[in-house]
Symmetry: C2
Subunit: 147 residues, 2 copies
């Protein structure tokens, strides 16, 4: 897994990153990224589309889909599967961590250390199976929603 080498808030570095890959740094892609950066929770595609249109009124839904696909490939954004099977997106966390999603207010409260590294090694040793990847999401109730 390739990790980002720059802070996602540094626009010049991001522009440079796009150019290295031969991709254009279009207002639409900037807007999608900005919307996700400014959100504290995961956003559905429709939500992203609505917010992007506030910045850039003419933007089409297909463009949002294509932008998200690009941003995921660049590891700037992650796609998550929510419990009901719907998809949402958020900016990629620094390093390898896992989100805790509050099931009441849907905020991403915190990232926790990945508990899988030790486990993967242990499993590979015990079973001969080479663990290559994992998908972990935590769901819970944040302090505010426990009242």
């Amino acid at each position: 897994m390739i990790s980002k080498l720059f802070s996602i808030s540094n626009y010049d570095e991001i522009r440079e990153f796009f150019h290295e890959k031969g991709l254009k740094y279009t207002p639409q892609r900037q807007a999608v990224l900005k919307v996700l950066q400014e959100s504290k929770s995961y956003l559905s595609i429709n939500r992203i589309h609505r917010n992007v249109k506030e910045l850039l009124p003419g933007t089409g839904l297909a463009t949002v889909y294509r932008s998200l696909e690009t941003l995921v490939e660049l590891n700037l954004v992650v796609k998550v599967h929510l419990e009901d099977g719907c998809h949402s997106y958020a900016t990629a966390p620094e390093g390898h961590r896992h989100p805790i999603v509050c099931t009441d207010c849907s905020r991403v409260i915190q990232y926790t250390e990945c508990p899988m590294e030790d486990l993967s090694k242990k499993l590979s040793k015990d079973t001969g199976i080479l663990i290559q990847n994992h998908f972990l999401q935590l769901f819970g109730k944040c302090k505010q929603c426990q009242s």
Copy 2:
């Protein structure tokens, strides 16, 4: 989370379980369950439909969807999200465990103990967030596919 109180291979107990819930134990539901029980790997809906039709030729796709929904509610079957976002189904494992899916041959090789129990407690204590649920799937390469 309600755990099953019987072995999934005991048909009388399953019939009884359906009746307790006021549900009919139809040939279609039996067939869907049987197909999943006899498979060693996760099956897509279309795959399940194809296999069910071998046992019960007239079965419609909508019935497969509805049967799976019912079986998931009864905790006899689990729905999984694969890496590409597609859904598949498998019989529910005994107790709380997590599957390791081989990314080459797509078999479910083994279930591992859940590493989340300790972590959930630790996190709840450290952060005040009440961890209620988690979603963990492991992907790797089984021995046969490592050559």
